[in-house]
């Protein structure tokens, strides 16, 4: 179910634009409010729904199976670390869920710009950028020693 924005609630802060992995949340050029420019391309990850501080983004079911009054509403409470979901089905049935916002502490994931630029040596490494530090693994990634491999591999 792709997302849509209640224009009356949106204050145009741009959080959804920043977080959308599909780059389909944009700011309307006339009203300066966010909107989903291409619902067909929405991954339905709900990052924007969860990130919106004004609770202005909702999920809309496809018209062929979910018309008439269903809704998915989300309340994010940073101070509690919770995100609550209220799913209302079109027959009036309602379900409520409560879950953690994320599995790591706030502010513990640095942005890419906060990492030092990789050196030329780093490019030759088998490890991906900033591994193994970002994986919180001390002493490097675990690897099998040659004598642990099956006969004939080395």
């Amino acid at each position: 179910m792709p997302t849509f924005v209640y224009m009356t609630r949106c204050d145009g802060c741009g959080h959804c634009v920043d977080i959308c992995p599909s780059d389909i949340m944009h700011i309307d050029k006339t009203y300066r409010r966010a909107y989903n420019i291409e619902p067909n391309m929405c991954w339905e990850c709900y990052s924007c729904v969860k990130a919106c501080p004004q609770n202005a983004i909702d999920a809309r079911g496809y018209a062929d199976f979910a018309p008439l009054g269903h809704s998915v509403r989300v309340l994010r409470e940073e101070e509690k670390g919770t995100i609550s979901w209220k799913i209302k089905f079109r027959n009036g049935h309602e379900k409520n869920f409560e879950s953690p916002i994320r599995t790591t502490q706030w502010g513990t994931i640095p942005s890419p710009a906060e990492f030092p630029e990789p050196s030329q040596e780093d490019y030759k490494s088998q490890e991906l950028a900033h591994e193994p530090d970002v994986l919180n693994i001390d002493g490097g990634l675990p690897a099998l020693a040659p004598d642990q491999l099956k006969k004939g591999v080395v």
Binding site: D11, V74, L75, E98, S99, P100, I101, Q105
Partner: protein, 260 residues
């Protein structure tokens, strides 16, 4: 410069009654423009319908609680711009809002109460006028060049202008040109008259364009904030889920085992 009333100096070339009439016309333009805006966009009807729906579906909110909500709306949402989640936007909005109030009020007081050099203007009033206009400029230009969503989030050029910018641009032009005019007039520069008439033009655009700009938000935003708080109090919460009641179990994840 910061102690002399610029409008008193101006009274040598423009009669105080003309200045006073201009302010009255601007107030009328704002009132009529807001009424037209409310009727045309049906915002009052929307908020009323929303409120009635919320009242019908939710529990009854008592008079005392209603008063407490009204006070909280006035203090948190209106006076402290509490609805903004981005602290930079909030500070910029507070600077612009209080700057505009100080600038507009002191202008009206100086023009009506101290229109000529014969009546001494209190220095604090003039200083508040300068400070108010400067606050509008600081908050407004900060917002315009760095904070607004299409520049900060979309990467658009800060010089890209559209109709939604009518309010902020005319406000900035009015405050900036007022400062320029007052400075040029105090220093005896010949360009002061040109700057003044440009300031009048920008101010007329600001107050005359209410139906097409977002000027009226200062009237209906508090109503929207009040309605939002009422819906939270009566349990309807604009169809949002109830606040999490088991954060220790489902919320903070300090003690959860890592699953990788």
């Amino acid at each position: 410069m910061f102690t002399s009333n610029p409008f008193a100096e101006l009274s040598a070339s423009i009669a105080p009654s003309v200045m006073q009439s201009y302010i009255v016309v601007m107030i009328l333009l704002v009132a009529l423009g807001t009424i037209y805006d409310v009727l045309h966009k049906k915002s009052a009807r929307y908020f009323r319908a929303n409120m009635q729906k919320s009242r019908a579906e939710g529990t009854k909110v008592g008079g005392g609680e209603m008063l407490s909500i009204a006070i909280r709306t006035a203090v948190v949402d209106v006076a402290a711009s509490g609805e903004f989640c981005n602290p930079r936007r909030r500070i910029a909005h507070l600077l612009t809002m209080y700057g505009f109030i100080a600038f507009a009020l002191t202008t009206a007081i100086m023009v009506f109460r101290y229109p000529t050099p014969d009546v001494a203007t209190p220095a604090i009033l003039v200083q508040l006028w300068w400070l108010g206009a400067a606050m509008v400029c600081i908050g407004g230009y900060w917002f315009w060049f760095f904070i607004r969503a299409d520049v900060a989030a979309e990467g658009s050029s800060p010089f890209r202008v559209m109709r939604a910018d009518l309010f902020i641009l005319s406000l900035l032009a009015s405050a900036t040109l007022a400062l320029v005019w007052a400075y040029l007039q105090a220093t005896g520069n010949a360009w002061a008259t040109s700057a003044f008439w440009l300031h009048v033009l920008a101010t007329t655009l600001l107050f005359g364009s209410v139906p097409w700009s977002k000027f009226a938000h200062m009237f209906f935003k508090p109503a929207a904030a009040f309605e939002k708080r009422i819906s939270a109090a009566n349990g309807t919460r604009s169809n949002l889920p109830a606040p999490a009641n088991q954060p220790e179990k489902f919320g903070s994840v300090d003690h959860r085992p890592r699953n990788y």
